[in-house]
């Protein structure tokens, strides 16, 4: 990414992060407005940067971790706007935008080494894998935030000593619904990402799976999420259970991601 634009986007996301924290703490509408403004700016620039790269390379993307992280940040902010459009949760930014900021920041420091792709098919698979996985991760980041917020709010209500956060976080029902909806989006994406990833692995390394540190937590996470989706309707796994599962699932995903990159 062009260095100047990269820094602008990075700063925009950082500014939005700090301002959403201020808004959570002080409840000043001005903070939220500026935060959203910065996010719009950053997102627009980000979209433009990604779009121009796609076009300039005639849709021949390269697969490297740095780009994947950049794409992840973009998808997370896209998810934020989706959630804003549907639910307008004022506190969401404070939890979600820092993740996007970290993703962009890490895209600046991570290796831009490209995986060797001897064949066109492998290339397509790799790109699809990254694309689907990243979108899936973004949706799961949303469930993670919804889960964290749910657990905080549930704590406030259970303790019967409501603190300031009670008013600033949305209702349990909205948070639970956000969790469920984002999961319905994220799980299929993650599944397809895993499938394409393992097909690519077969071509590149000769086996569909390797039970390495990378894949194990990821598979565990997938199983957890799958149970969560099914369990919600059959066993009533909603509310606190769903929130805890969403948090654990995402932490597993993160763990596998870090191992993957290092």
């Amino acid at each position: 990414m062009n260095s100047f634009l990269f820094h602008v986007i990075l700063l925009a996301y950082l500014g939005a992060t700090l301002l959403s924290w201020f808004h959570l703490a002080l409840r000043q509408q001005r903070c939220l407005q500026v935060a959203n403004g910065l996010l719009s700016l950053g997102f627009a620039l980000h979209t433009a940067v990604l779009g121009s790269r796609l076009l300039s390379q005639s849709w021949r993307l390269e697969g490297n971790i740095s780009d994947a992280m950049g794409l992840l940040a973009w998808a997370i902010i896209g998810g934020y706007w989706l959630a804003w459009w549907r639910y307008r949760i004022e506190a969401l930014g404070a939890f979600l935008v820092p993740l996007a900021f970290l993703a962009v920041a890490s895209s600046g420091v991570l290796a831009t080494t490209v995986y060797p792709v001897p064949s066109a098919l492998q290339h397509v698979l790799l790109v699809m894998h990254i694309f689907l996985a990243v979108l899936g991760y973004a949706a799961l980041a949303l469930t993670f935030c919804a889960g964290v917020m749910y657990l905080i709010q549930e704590r406030q209500l259970k303790s019967r000593q409501p603190g300031v956060l009670l008013q600033r976080l949305p209702s349990l029902r909205v948070l639970d619904e956000l969790n469920a909806r984002a999961l319905v989006l994220g799980l299929p994406l993650l599944t397809q990402g895993l499938i394409t990833g393992s097909i690519w692995a077969k071509y590149a390394r000769g086996s569909y799976l390797n039970w390495s540190l990378t894949s194990l937590p990821l598979l565990l996470a997938w199983v957890l999420y799958a149970f969560l989706v099914g369990g919600r309707y059959t066993w009533g796994w909603q509310g606190k259970k769903a929130a805890v599962a969403a948090v654990i699932g995402f932490l597993l995903v993160l763990a596998s991601f870090f191992v993957h990159t290092l």
Binding site: Q153, L157, R160, Q167, S171, L172, R173, G236, Q238, G239
Partner: protein, 420 residues
């Protein structure tokens, strides 16, 4: 030209005195018309269940205040001694600050209550309809209404529930988001339970059940609430379909146990439930709160929430007081322009603008002149303007002595359009 407020409120007078002085909004026209006094130029009467206040614009504060007290005695048919000790009087900026605080609900019994703003508006409109408002009180009350609205938006002063039933509704909304399709069950009977149920109804709750050991009492309460009375034995069955339970029986022991709720939650597939236990001794086993998805608030817990909200309102009130001070200072600045000196200055500036414009135009047309000619022409214009303005200026300055200042200032400012 001064502002005075004379009145009683819930801090200075008991309700027995306040009710003698109260005037309903419909009847405001009468005292507004009847209170005519040479010292009183403008008048607004504000009368609510917590205060009766006369806002006056007067030329002389002592005369105005005394006239008001005399009128109150005459109009209400009271001896001055009966109410004078309960009266408060504020002048000028203190009076302005008082009105702004009242409009912002900072002076109300319940900080942040919403009705006062409408009541202030009614009082102002009644006075305007009776033709008793002039420039000063019009501006004062328009500003006061603006301040009330501003503080409502800029601070959280009316955000949090400060009564038990409102607090219950607020908590329910934090669990269920919307109460529109929720089901409520009232277990037992009692005023508080009924009030809370009514509140929830007003928020759009769809179904209400009533359960009581005595079927007749259940039916009676159900009728009052447009609810469905259910047999006591089917309590736990119906709980499965209930989201919010208000319990208020006179039973000496718990009527809703942890095991009962556990089974209910299993049948509900974990959908959340909100229990409000207002009974003493408590109706619901406290350990119920440990169950996932169940939130149990007894009367103490609700009072706790109300107390925390009250403190939050107090904090917001500090911010509101700051805003009020700022508005008072702005009003003071406006008031000062209504005085003689700024008006005279504005008038002179207006004249000077015309003088210099015409002078420049003429000098340009005349072509080259020598120094003496030029100075003579300049002197002509200056002297004309000064002589012309001399008499009005002197009279404006003198008018404060014979109490026509306000009228003269108004007249001059509007005739010469000095405010545009």
């Amino acid at each position: 030209m001064a502002i005075v407020v004379v009145g009683v409120n819930h801090k200075t007078a008991p309700v027995a005195v306040r009710e003698r002085l109260a005037v309903t909004p419909q009847d405001l026209a009468e005292p507004l018309q009847r209170f005519q006094h040479p010292a009183v130029d403008e008048l607004v009467i504000l009368s609510t269940c917590n205060r009766v206040e006369f806002y006056l614009e007067v030329d002389n504060t002592d005369a105005g205040g005394a006239a008001c007290v005399a009128f109150m005695a005459a109009y209400y048919g009271l001896q001055q001694a009966q109410f004078v000790s309960h009266l408060f009087q504020w002048y000028d900026m203190e009076a302005v600050r008082h009105l702004f605080r009242v409009a912002a609900s900072l002076d109300s019994m319940v900080l942040g209550e919403p009705q006062i703003l409408g009541q202030v508006k009614t009082a102002y409109l009644a006075a305007r309809a009776a033709g008793r408002t002039g420039t000063i009180l019009t501006q004062l009350f328009e500003r006061a209404l603006g301040v009330g609205k501003l503080i409502r938006h800029a601070t959280g002063i009316n955000d949090h529930a400060v009564s038990v039933s409102y607090a219950a509704v607020e908590l329910a909304k934090k669990i269920f988001e919307s109460l529109q399709q929720r089901t409520v069950m009232v277990v037992g009977a009692g005023d508080t339970a009924e009030l809370a149920a009514r509140h929830l109804r007003r928020q759009g709750v769809a179904t209400v059940f009533v359960a009581n050991r005595t079927m007749e009492r259940a039916v009676k309460l159900a009728q009052a609430l447009h609810a469905k009375a259910i047999p006591w034995e089917s309590l736990s069955e119906h709980l499965v379909y209930t989201d919010i339970v208000i319990s208020s029986t006179s039973a000496p022991q718990a009527v809703i146990s942890k095991t009962m709720v556990q089974e209910v939650m299993r049948a509900r597939k974990g959908r959340p439930m909100f229990f409000i236990d207002i009974a003493v001794p408590r109706d619901i086993e406290p350990t119920v709160n440990t169950l996932d998805g169940v939130f149990l608030y007894d009367i103490d817990a609700l009072e706790h929430v109300v107390e925390a909200n009250r403190r939050e309102r107090q904090r917001e009130a500090l911010a509101a007081e700051e805003l009020v001070w700022r508005e008072v200072r702005q009003f003071q600045q406006w008031l000062e322009t209504r005085d003689a000196v700024p008006t005279i200055v504005a008038l002179r500036q207006y004249a000077e603008k015309i003088r210099t414009a015409e002078l420049d135009k003429t000098l340009a047309r005349l072509g080259p002149l020598d120094e003496r000619q030029r100075r003579l022409i300049e002197a002509l214009t200056t002297n004309m303007v000064n002589k012309f303005l001399h008499t009005p200026t002197v009279n404006l300055k003198r008018s404060s002595r014979h109490e026509r200042l306000r009228d003269y200032v108004e007249l001059v400012r509007s005739l010469f359009e000095l405010d545009t």
